[in-house]
């Protein structure tokens, strides 16, 4: 009976809560994006639905659901239908290993769904599955622009994954663990966020994360002014919204992982300085959310500012800049650790 409670009921409750929070968060992330971009551009953004457009996400969601779901006649129906799901599900699964609070929180069950010993590898691996949805969606549309988008995204995501992986290895070397909970605990015990230990790794991770989530300036697979929307050109209504949700969920994933790996996860700033303990008035999960929001804001800010790379430039940066720098970072980190520790 205890097993049932510990391994089924409690995780299930947590999963439901996290999925609910995440869905709401994604909905309001779209509103946040529109509002922030609007402010950057001297506009107001959505204002009509509710107070300052506060109900806009609900209206959008409703619109997506009641719109006609068009499947092109020449499309591969089966693949076309499931592709958005393939893109969406991994984006959500990753959250099962991301810790939102310390292990002793939530009545001792831990502020996470599960703490597996390969959590980081799991997160990277699962989020790499999402690209399949993009590729299959582009292929199944049986149309040229989506196909070009799919080709672009398969090349882009695979190459940026490599640099991203090498970026993360720097953290692994310092933390000595693949468990995200232990990585955060390590940052607490060392008294310093890994960003200050591994700034280069962070930058590489974050830029590659932008590329992985198809955000400007790396949004080539969907580049609406070149490929008319890329892989999701032929999608409409609910299925389109699934791709859309997956993209935003991935944004949250990248931000959450960045916070967990480099900015102390649920820890308050300067967690080792006792003089700042008044900051503890904000509970750990809230610290986590605040940090994630900062990174999401940067995502949006960048989108409002920068133009888009060209495909060959994108590949060049991935392979010729990020990857060598990440590798050098791993080597230097390793050398320093060997020499001084």
């Amino acid at each position: 009976m205890n097993i049932l409670v510990n391994y089924v009921v409690i995780p299930l409750v947590k999963i439901v809560v996290i999925v609910a929070i995440l869905s709401g968060g994604i909905a309001y992330l779209t509103l946040m994006e529109r509002k922030v971009i609007a402010r950057l551009q001297h506009r107001l953004g959505p204002m009509r639905v509710g107070w300052h457009g506060i109900l806009q996400p609900i209206a959008d969601g409703l619109k997506f659901i009641i719109k006609e779901d068009i499947i092109p006649i020449k499309a591969d129906r089966f693949v076309f239908t499931i592709a958005p799901g393939i893109s969406l599900v991994p984006a959500f699964i990753v959250f099962s290993v991301i810790p939102f609070g310390p292990p002793d929180s939530l009545w001792g069950t831990g502020g996470y769904v599960t703490d597996v010993n390969i959590a980081l590898l799991f997160a990277v691996a699962v989020s790499s599955v999402g690209v399949l949805g993009v590729i299959l969606g582009g292929w199944a549309s049986n149309s040229k622009y989506p196909l070009l988008g799919a080709l672009r995204s398969s090349a882009q995501m695979v190459s940026y994954e490599v640099a991203m992986g090498f970026g993360i290895i720097g953290v692994l070397l310092v933390a000595n663990s693949l468990s995200l909970v232990e990585i955060v605990e390590k940052q607490r015990s060392m008294g310093v966020w890994f960003f200050f230990v591994q700034p280069i790794a962070f930058l590489i991770y974050y830029f590659c994360g932008m590329a992985e989530t198809n955000r400007l300036p790396f949004d080539l697979p969907e580049a609406e002014t070149e490929l008319v929307g890329g892989f999701h050109t032929e999608y409409s209504g609910f299925r389109f919204s699934l791709f859309f949700i997956a993209e935003y969920a991935n944004m949250i994933t990248v931000s959450s992982l960045a916070v967990t790996l480099f900015f102390g996860g649920w820890l308050r700033p300067f967690s080792s300085v006792a003089a700042l303990s008044f900051l503890d008035i904000i509970p750990p999960p809230l610290w986590f959310v605040i940090k994630v929001l900062i990174f999401l804001y940067i995502f949006i800010w960048v989108r409002g500012t920068l133009p888009r790379f060209r495909f060959d430039q994108l590949m060049r940066i991935g392979w010729k800049v990020f990857l060598p720098v990440a590798m050098a970072n791993v080597m230097v980190t390793g050398a320093i650790l060997l020499k001084f520790l």
Binding site: H42, G304, L306, R308, R310, F311
Partner: protein, 378 residues
């Protein structure tokens, strides 16, 4: 490779393992209207392009041949619909040339000023869409913010915003409204700052440089051979501007420079247009301070019957040399009207510019040519 008029894709090309034929347009966000470009791609590299035009053909030239001269003016609002004032100016001045009418200086100054406003508005629209095509969405909205101010000025003076019917043969419809010059001055005092703002977002931006430098390079000789005009020609370093070469309206009175590019690439054309906006603003400021008083209409005959003959008059539109060739048989309507549309001729360069570049560059190059399909298809 031959293709029929509908651009049907022949089977052999499809089956070729290495090449893909892709239709860009007529429904595509970056073809600025209904241009259709048939791209033959090897991967993402463009091997060949074919422009297919005519989706917006309305037979403007033919319609105008069946209308009285004065009734022809509004039709030219609709050729280059983002630069209606310049189009009107060219036609109106051509007819005035046929009639031998000399318009009063105040009219000339107002015309010049409004045409320069139109040039800024057109360049702003170009800047916004060009930047948006390359992915910088904020510049688009900034540019439209300022363009809106210009359109408000147009509305105050002409009563319309886009298809304006700005000028009448022999003068203007009405004199400047009260406070108009102050409004113009307010705009012209701030636009410089706003242009700096756009430049801050783009000019030294690494990504912008990577996307525009050495993209769509055309040499000065090639540009001349293709008959290109306007910023596209000046971007390659050829100093040809109708305002200087054959001054019309009041341009001879003003001090302004013609910015020139060096490399003839997309980035140089961008710089040229940005600088042109500043120069236009200079002209506007001179117009405001030196605005003469006097009548706003010349003595033009009520029924316009120009003498028999062929006439050509060209002005420097925002996009290049905009010429009107009118043949008169001495009747109330012209025998033949032919527009020399700058973008139609500039579009010819697309094939040459695009070859060997990537799909993303096609978008940038279409943007840099600053085409308007209303004018190309007429």
């Amino acid at each position: 490779m031959e293709h029929d008029i509908f651009g049907a894709i022949d089977e052999k090309t499809v089956l070729d393992a290495n090449q893909v034929v892709i239709n860009m347009g007529p429904q595509h966000p970056s073809t600025h209207g209904v241009l259709r470009v048939k791209l033959t791609l090897d991967g993402e590299r463009v091997i060949d392009t074919d422009c297919i035009i005519g989706y917006l053909h309305r037979g403007t030239e033919k319609i105008v041949e069946n209308r009285p001269y004065a009734a022809g003016v509004p039709y030219f609002d609709r050729t280059d619909y983002v630069a209606a004032v310049s189009n009107n100016l060219g036609y109106v001045e051509c007819v005035e040339k046929m009639l031998g009418v000399e318009v009063p200086p105040r009219v000339q100054y107002i015309r010049t000023m409004m045409t320069e406003f139109q040039r800024i508005a057109s360049h702003l629209l170009w800047l916004g869409t060009h930047a948006l095509d390359i992915g910088a969405m904020t510049v688009f909205l900034y540019a439209f913010r300022e363009r809106e101010e210009i359109l408000k000025l147009f509305e105050a003076l002409f009563g319309a915003r886009l298809t304006i019917h700005a000028f009448r043969i022999g003068g203007l419809w009405q004199d400047l409204p009260v406070g108009f010059l102050d409004a113009c001055r307010r705009f012209s005092d701030t636009i410089g700052e706003h242009i700096n703002e756009y430049e801050g977002l783009l000019t030294n931006n690494r990504i912008w440089l990577e996307r525009t430098r050495d993209i769509g390079v055309i040499s000065a000789q090639d540009a001349i051979d293709l008959g290109l005009t306007g910023p596209v020609l000046r971007g390659s370093g050829v100093n040809y501007d109708v305002r200087k070469a054959r001054p019309y309206s009041a341009y001879a009175d003003f001090d302004f420079d013609i910015p020139l590019g060096v490399h003839g690439d997309t980035y140089d054309r961008y710089l040229v247009r940005i600088e042109e906006m500043r120069q236009s603003n200079r002209i506007i400021q001179q117009c405001i301070t030196r605005m003469p008083t006097g009548p706003i209409r010349a003595k033009a005959p009520r029924v316009i019957k120009p003498p028999v003959g062929e006439y050509y008059h060209s002005v420097e539109g925002p996009k290049g040399e905009l010429g009107y060739y009118i043949v008169s048989e001495g009747k109330t309507s012209p025998y033949r009207v032919r527009i020399r549309p700058p973008t139609f001729i500039n579009l010819q360069a697309l094939k040459k510019l695009v070859k060997g570049h990537l799909v993303a560059d096609v978008v940038a190059i279409i943007g840099t040519l600053d085409i308007v399909l209303g004018e190309i298809d007429r």
